[in-house]
């Protein structure tokens, strides 16, 4: 039976639309994977000497165990956002003569083979080898490595329990945030020293190898809880169903004031708010507002204004870049309907333009506190905002007319490359690099103020010629109408 499941799995892998994505994305994904593997390998090899240097008084091995608590928490957090229990594809198996328990075991065991569980091995194995090399006892090292693997699997299954419990609430990521920050706080203020307890535990296990049974029993425990949870919910209206809640509506009456674009603007706002993928774009946006904190406090960047322009364009333009590059693919699900309705392309696109414009202004206002790092930063943000509104919006709208990939609105955004094509990579250049280049040239040739002025002037020009530019863009969309309809109605 298992072999049959495996062969299904293999076919799913080989035949998935995943491989039909463009070559560029596959290469990127492979590079990402290799990157992480390399990082972990480096960690595994380098950890021992680094710790030896940093904490000459303690045994590096003990020190690693002291950090284990943070490692596991970070692991849990990452999994919560990136890993999902693969239940959806068992639906066709339900009506076949298979025991439910078998299906559940299969799903759970499959989750154990995820990339997230293999990744730590790339650090654990080299670290263990280093330990052996440094004359630690083979038994101890083996026990340690085994218990690390068991801990990883415990986190794996614990994550699914947390996910399934918190998916019932409105803000699904709140429970895990509270849990993790609560544990960290308790630990930090020494109310309960989890990191100490865990370290003592691991040291004890290493000293008395049969105690490895404790984490193993724990693993069996979380597995069993998962099993019980799933087997009761293996109905198409249970775990296999995507939730449908009673919805509240808002007629967004204030948009009326905007005239002809009002219906489209309402549609866009609802699109963003009611669908998983655009909504998670908003979440990323909040995080990227803090992006400046990486650069501004660092004095090395203060002498590199071109770098600051990059940050400015990024901070005030993050929404338009994330949202704008997938115009009109956001509407791909009902593009046929829009095209047979009595609509003007101009209004449709204008609404997207206004939305991007508003986002730039709002993000600029939100980024005002960065004035703490100097007035010049505020000035750069302002220039970047004007440039974004005047130039980048039009570039994005124009680039959109080349979009041929449809988007399923209900999948979340992290690591989701659906809808991404060559367009997105090509368009990245004029969006980010061009303003930096323009700034840099006039900064080098004339001075700093001239660089800022260049961006502002270009932005203002874009705004002045907005109507003319829109006419050209609308014509592009009209010319490509059939190609877009055909591409959007192809499901993945």
């Amino acid at each position: 039976m298992i072999t049959r499941f495996m062969s299904l799995e293999w076919k799913q892998f080989l035949r998935s639309s995943y491989w039909q994505k463009s070559i560029a994305i596959n290469i990127l994904m492979v590079f990402l994977g290799l990157y992480f593997i390399t990082m972990f390998l480096a960690l595994g090899v380098g950890l021992f000497p680094v710790l030896e240097k940093m904490y000459p008084d303690t045994d590096p091995f003990v020190q690693v165990n002291n950090f284990m608590f943070y490692w596991l928490l970070a692991d849990l957090m990452m999994r919560f956002f990136l890993q999902k229990l693969p239940v959806m594809n068992v639906k066709p198996l339900l009506v076949l003569p298979l025991k439910k328990s078998k299906i559940v075991h299969y799903v759970l065991n499959k989750s154990a083979s995820s990339f997230f569980n293999f990744l730590p091995l790339f650090a654990i194995v080299p670290f263990s080898l280093v330990l052996l090399f440094k004359d630690y006892q083979l038994v101890q090292v083996a026990v340690w490595a085994c218990s690390m693997l068991v801990f990883t699997l415990i986190v794996n299954f614990l994550n699914f329990i947390i996910e399934s419990k918190s998916s019932e609430t409105e803000f699904a990521f709140l429970p895990i945030m509270l849990l993790v920050s609560g544990l960290l706080a308790l630990n930090h203020f020494n109310v309960i020293s989890f990191s100490g307890i865990l370290a003592d535990g691991i040291n004890y296990i290493v000293a008395t190898p049969w105690m490895v049974l404790v984490p193993v029993l724990l693993l069996v425990g979380v597995y069993w809880v998962n099993f019980k949870m799933l087997i009761g919910k293996l109905y198409i209206d249970g775990a296999l169903k995507k939730g449908s809640k009673e919805v509240s509506t808002n007629d967004l009456a204030w948009t009326r004031k905007l005239g002809a674009i009002a219906p489209f603007l309402q549609l866009d706002l609802k699109l963003i708010w009611r669908n998983k993928r655009p909504r998670s774009t908003i979440l990323m946006l909040v995080m990227s507002l803090f992006y400046g904190l990486i650069f501004y406090p660092n004095p090395t960047y203060q002498d590199m204004p071109a770098m600051l322009v990059f940050v400015g364009i990024f901070i005030t333009g993050i929404f338009m870049i994330n949202f704008g590059q997938f115009i009109p693919a956001w509407d791909s699900g009902y593009y046929n309907m829009l095209m047979s309705q009595n609509i003007k392309y101009k209004n449709y696109l204008d609404s997207k333009y206004k939305l991007m414009m508003a986002s730039a202004v709002i993000l600029f206002v939100l980024s005002i506190p960065y004035v703490y790092f100097g007035w010049d930063i505020l000035l750069i943000h302002f220039a970047a905002m004007i440039y974004n509104i005047g130039v980048n919006t039009h570039v994005l709208l124009f680039g959109g007319s080349f979009n041929r990939k449809q988007i399923d609105l209900n999948k979340s955004a992290a690591f989701n490359y659906q809808g991404t094509g060559a367009v997105q990579w090509i368009i990245g250049f004029p969006l980010m690099a061009l303003p930096i280049l323009l700034f840099y040239i006039s900064y080098k040739l004339i001075n700093y103020e001239a660089g800022i002025a260049t961006l502002i002037v270009l932005g203002v020009l874009g705004m002045v010629f907005h109507q003319k530019l829109m006419k050209v863009i609308v014509q592009c969309y009209k010319n490509k109408k059939y190609a877009m309809i055909a591409a959007f109605s192809q499901s993945n």
Binding site: E246, L267, R274, Y334, S340, N342, L409, Y482
Partner: protein, 231 residues
């Protein structure tokens, strides 16, 4: 009202539709029948300018659909679920379409009143997004939305499929009322021979993209169609 002149659609070397000449006068209720792959949806997609014809063109009320977009103001249509916006509630969808057709909220509310029995309390005020409605209820929303704004031409692809028996009967009645109004040209396709013969004045049978029969509905039509499709 509608003229298809020498229209054809090819994919690769494969001709999926080829109609030399088809004229549909104003006020007619036109039914399109044919087995899967006969070209019914292709014809409607060409009519709505969603795909480009390989040869020929379609003229809607003196407007060539692939040259000028003005036909959109007087044409209502529902082809499939891709005409629905999944993340809107049914009300919001109706208001959206209404707005595109120059009707405000109050107009739409008044307009929807006449369909209360078709909605059967499951659609309006259900506080659900369209994507969470059942297939049948989604279809109802799409069909009703095609009637918004007093269109002169209404195109419905398989309106009866997926509907429950009660709604099928009610929809049939509704379509008959529409036909009685001589201002509206109605185009439907269906696999249910009984329904189309009951509703339509004229039935065209497509096979492999070509017109094989063009009948004015009479008492014998149903019999004739059934004989034709019994192979």
């Amino acid at each position: 009202m509608i003229k298809a002149i020498d229209i054809s659609k090819k994919y690769g070397g494969n001709t999926v539709l080829s109609i030399a000449n088809l004229e549909i006068p104003k006020g007619q209720c036109f039914g399109l029948v044919g087995n899967n792959g006969a070209g019914k949806t292709t014809f409607f997609n060409l009519l709505l300018d969603l795909i480009q014809p390989s040869t020929g063109h379609i003229i809607l009320n003196d407007i060539q659909v692939d040259k000028n977009e003005d036909w959109k103001t007087f044409t209502g249509s529902f082809i499939d679920e891709s005409f629905l916006i999944g993340y809107l509630t049914p009300e919001e969808y109706f208001y959206f379409v209404g707005e595109l057709r120059g009707m405000n909220k109050a107009d739409i509310d008044a307009f929807l009143l006449q369909f209360t029995d078709i909605f059967n309390d499951e659609i309006l005020g259900a506080k659900k997004y369209l994507r969470d409605l059942s297939k049948g209820n989604q279809k109802k929303v799409g069909i009703i939305a095609a009637f918004i704004g007093n269109p002169e031409v209404i195109v419905l692809d398989e309106p009866f499929a997926n509907l429950d028996p009660t709604t099928q009967i009610r929809l049939k009645q509704l379509l008959k009322n529409v036909v009685d109004n001589q201002e509206v040209t109605l185009l439907i396709s269906s696999h249910d021979l009984g329904h189309v013969t009951e509703v339509c004045d004229r039935i065209v049978v497509l096979e492999k993209g070509e017109i094989v029969k063009d009948l004015s509905t009479s008492t014998e039509t149903l019999q004739e169609l059934e004989t034709y499709f019994t192979v």
